[in-house]
Amino acid sequence: MAGQLIPDIGEPAALPAASAGSRPAPPVAARLAARAGLVVLVVLKRAALLATLLAVVFIGVALLPGDAASATSERGESAADLARRRARLGLDRPVLERFWDWMSGLPTGNLGTSAHGERVSSMLATAFPNTLVLSGTALVLTALLSLAFASGAALRPGGRLDRIVGGASTAVFAVPEFVVAVGLVLVLSLWTGWLPAVTLTDGDGTPASWTMLVLPVLALTIPQAGWNTRIARAALADEARAPHVEAAVLDGLPPHRVMLWHVLPGALPTIATGLATSSGVLLGGAVAVETIFNYPGVGAVLASAVADRDTPVIAGVTVLAGAAITVVLLAADLLRDLMTVGRR
């Protein structure tokens, strides 16, 4: 749960099932055009939300007391020195002008300059992809585990597996990733010696071996798998009450077939949205987990930015993280549209 706050805590509400009414199908070309229009609309909406977030972040940072120049000032620096540095960083210009410069630079890959005058984009060029690999792997593993556990549990409601999965998933989702990481390091690395406890890097700045990814990925996955198992279990339960599932059961289909072909498709949009929400938590949790494993990702960059009070770097990471989360949410949106259109 929840680098970011645990998203949307509470029993997940399933989306209303698509109406099963049959209407005469419109011509293929018109349908394709409508579908394309829908996709464009969804993309635009997500892009607008991302732009809003960046605006809120920039203006929030500008409104709070203190700026990059004063935060990095050294003891004994005179007010004139401070003003000179502020001018060099462009902080003496009006907020709206700086905001426009920053926003218009983003699409070209220019993330601004750090408080020490370095380009933020070059500081993150190898670190952010490393973090994406870490949290992306964790996201895929989370999806597989939560689907497997939830469908296994839903096959026998109230059975032993259902109760174990329910209890375990509720128990783990609240534990911070760095606490999970400490437990994993102690057991799987220091006491048994099976996996490396620290990440060594190659010359190009990537982890030297895939075994170094196992522990960080597990530490990120365990809490999120707990959370998503709960969402998937509830979504499957909602979908299992639909009339078409009852019909399939009455037709005498075996339970695993009903689960795979009749229950899961309807529950998939809710599950996908839950997983997409987790992507932000995974990125946030990665920052802490990377610190424990010495993994070469944004965690290290952020740690030194925190020590230097370097807000522009953190804003740059926010842009990249926001963009990555937007892409995952977009995929979930499109999956939902696809499923509901396909079922009409």
Binding site: I9, L53, G66
Partner: protein, 272 residues
């Protein structure tokens, strides 16, 4: 509600309550000084230090006992503020759809901001904010989801006949929120408080771990994990004990919140 059910519920809330009380009184019952070395750095357990020493040779047990109060207090404060604000704003959102839509959009936007980054941004742009900055960030980041939850729960109540009757009778919005709708949401609000407490423990400890919140030499569970992890082989307890404290706190409060949650949300699959 039958007596056994109530007893079972009490038993599920008990561990969380005990841990919170222990964390609150902990600083008064430390066996050794919190900030003075008593052993060798990373000394193993023994010699009157039940859990050994930390990276400066300070008593780990004392620091674990002392290191939870501020975490628990700030988490409680955040949970209270978020729950109270969400109760009012969410109910208004259910009664006034325009407000509800604004909240939905705010939640859509904030989901793009990992909490860690949000807290870093606030804490760094607000030098001297300290724990208050972390708490403000946690409240702002957690509020939209909580409001959304309350608004969903309040919607059926807001649409019920007696609320419409009161609204048609000319009652003010404030009266509708506080006297007509909110009393019906007690169970939801209690569960929301528990979950917000868990989320706040997560956020505050994450901030501590990333060294944005409490600064050395303060005794703080999350900070202890960070400071002592280089010596995890020499004295694992210096890392394990604070980790277990945070893990158990999150876990027990979470189970307590699940026990308090109204059971209507859980549906059984009956057909498979």
């Amino acid at each position: 509600m039958t007596i056994p059910h109530r007893a079972a519920r009490f038993l599920r809330v008990l561990p969380a309550a005990l841990l919170v009380v222990l964390a609150l009184v902990g600083p008064w019952i430390t066996p050794h000084a919190v900030d003075e070395p008593g052993t060798m750095p990373f000394a193993e357990p023994g010699d009157g230090a039940l859990l050994g020493g930390d990276q400066l040779g300070r008593d780990v047990l004392s620091r674990v006992l002392a290191g939870g109060r501020e975490l628990v207090l700030s988490a409680l404060l955040i949970a209270v503020v978020v729950t109270a604000a969400a109760a009012v704003i969410g109910t208004i959102g259910a009664l006034r759809p325009a407000v509800g839509r604004v909240v939905e959009r705010a939640a859509d936007v904030l989901i793009l901001l990992p909490a860690v980054l949000g807290i870093m941004l606030v804490a760094l742009s607000w030098p001297g904010g300290g724990r208050l900055a972390v708490a403000v960030a946690a409240v702002v980041l957690g509020l939209p989801y909580a409001v959304r939850l309350v608004a969903h729960a309040a919607a059926p109540v807001a649409a019920s006949g007696y609320v419409e009757a009161a609204a048609a009778g000319g009652e003010r919005l404030w009266f509708l929120v506080v006297r007509e709708v909110l009393p019906n949401l007690r169970a939801i609000l209690l569960a929301l408080f528990g979950l917000r407490f868990v989320a706040a423990v997560y956020v505050v400890s994450m901030a501590g771990f990333l060294q944005i919140g409490p600064q050395p030499p303060a005794a703080d569970w999350a900070l202890m994990i960070r400071e002592n992890s280089p010596g995890i082989l020499l004295n694992p307890w210096a890392v394990l004990a604070p980790s277990a404290a945070i893990g158990l706190l999150a876990l027990s409060v979470n189970l307590a919140a699940a026990a308090l949650a109204p059971q209507t949300g859980r549906k059984a699959v009956t057909l498979l």
